[in-house]
């Protein structure tokens, strides 16, 4: 596998990763897909899930994303993540506490839009916990 593809992961607040990799597996809304060099140009939305970065036949990096967009072309993959964290950086205890406090907030929230927002955040946090 001589050819590498350029992988870029950006969150709204910063550029998280920019490196050359063998393959990236991206959790698309309609199923995971792997991107290697020379991939046909695709734009896809992402669901909540984990991006796997493959190098030399093994997974070298796993990154949790809470939805977003991915753009793949022959020479690069760009992922625009809504929120992204390396799996190695996720602290189970912290996320657990976050879920608890969010649940408490959900109970207290009265407005419909607010409830929906909190419920979505709980879903993200739960998925994050499950991914570790």
């Amino acid at each position: 596998m001589a050819d590498k593809t350029k992988f870029e992961l950006v969150a709204p607040e910063r550029l998280l990763a920019s490196l050359d990799v063998d393959m990236v597996v991206v959790p698309g809304t309609e199923g995971d897909f792997g991107v290697m060099a020379g991939h046909a140009p695709v734009i896809s939305t992402l669901r909540i899930g984990t991006i796997d970065v493959w190098n030399g036949g093994t997974v070298t990096d796993r990154i949790f994303v809470a939805g977003g967009f991915a753009e793949a072309s022959a020479e690069r993959v760009t992922v625009l993540a809504d929120e992204a964290t390396r799996l190695a950086d996720i602290d189970k205890a912290v996320v657990g506490k976050e879920i608890e406090s969010l649940r408490a907030k959900l109970g207290a929230a009265t407005e419909d839009g607010e409830r929906r927002g909190i419920a979505a955040r709980i879903e993200i946090a739960t998925a994050k916990l499950a991914a570790v």
Binding site: V10, E13, T29, A40, I43, T78
Partner: protein
């Protein structure tokens, strides 16, 4: 002529004012650097988002199925102006220049017979606009960037705009903020949010046509609100940097003015001190001569 004591007190008070302004200048400089870094860090995302959206919009040539955020509502009646200013004062003409641009645009739009609505982000702008256009203000959001502006803060603004758009409360939306040019120069800028205007970025560099997963329409429907949030976020970050820049230069000149004032007062003080000494001496000498 003021008494010596009054002058002394005056000098002391100007000195402590100068200390405050120079400290504020220092703080603003530190905050400016941080704000600039943050704005810098947010750029890649906005850039790629724009590129993606540009190629999508190009392939979605304003067909009937195009989402309203892209194509507009077809009308041009109600304009929503989102005005970003600072929450705090003491930053020179920063807020006033933004508000001035907004005022002139309001007048222009009203002269054309359009309805104007205002959404104020930041306390200072709301206070200035309330004087003349209190009845146009439909909402305001304060205390956004107390410490560090996060993307979630920007979504608070964009969600409100989107909710109003879905409710059909406006046709055109524009965002007003100060673009950061340099620490001493900030340009009040108008950025159209709805309907979306593709940036004049170089057209699709690969020239390849993309496959879409799910369909274009669906992606676009997800991407457009996101892009709105990103644009607001970018604007707010620029605005934050501009605010600190404006404050820095305002405080710099305030410090300099205080220095000038102290010099003048000290000169005055010394003169009157000498005058009173001379007067006393003359009194003593003439008293001694009389004996």
């Amino acid at each position: 002529m003021a008494t010596l004591k009054a002058l002394r007190m005056r000098i002391a008070s100007v000195k402590s004012t100068q200390k405050i302004t120079s400290a504020m200048k220092m703080v603003a400089a530190a905050k400016l650097r941080r704000a600039q870094e943050q704005a810098e860090a947010a750029r890649p995302y906005a850039l790629r988002m724009g590129r993606m959206l540009g190629s999508l919009a190009a392939s979605m040539t304003a067909g009937a199925g195009a989402p309203k955020l892209l194509a507009g509502t077809g009308a041009d009646k109600v304009h929503l102006l989102v005005v970003a200013t600072s929450d705090r004062g003491l930053c020179g003409g920063f807020n006033s220049t933004i508000v001035r641009l907004v005022r002139s645009d309001i007048r222009k739009l009203q002269a054309e017979g359009k309805t104007v609505k205002l959404l104020c982000v930041g306390r200072k702008g709301r206070e200035q606009l309330r004087r003349d256009y209190a009845n146009l203000i439909v909402g305001s959001i304060d205390e956004l960037n107390r410490k560090r502006l996060s993307f979630a803060d920007a979504t608070r603004v964009s969600d409100k705009v989107l909710a109003m758009f879905d409710a059909g409360e406006f046709d055109v939306c524009a965002f007003y903020y100060a673009r950061f040019k340099s620490a001493i120069s900030q340009v009040p800028t108008r950025l159209q949010l709805v309907p979306f205007v593709p940036s004049e970025a170089p057209a699709n560099d690969t020239g390849a046509s993309y496959e879409y997963e799910p369909e274009e329409g669906e992606i676009l429907a997800a991407l457009l609100p996101r892009n709105l949030a990103v644009q607001v976020y970018g604007g707010l970050l620029e605005n934050g940097a501009s605010e600190q820049g404006a404050r820095m230069s305002a405080m710099d000149s305030a410090t300099r003015n205080a220095g000038d004032m102290i010099k003048k007062l000290t000169l005055n003080y010394n003169r009157s001190r000498q005058a009173s000494i001379t007067k006393e001496l003359i009194e003593i000498i003439s008293g001694a001569e009389a004996v």
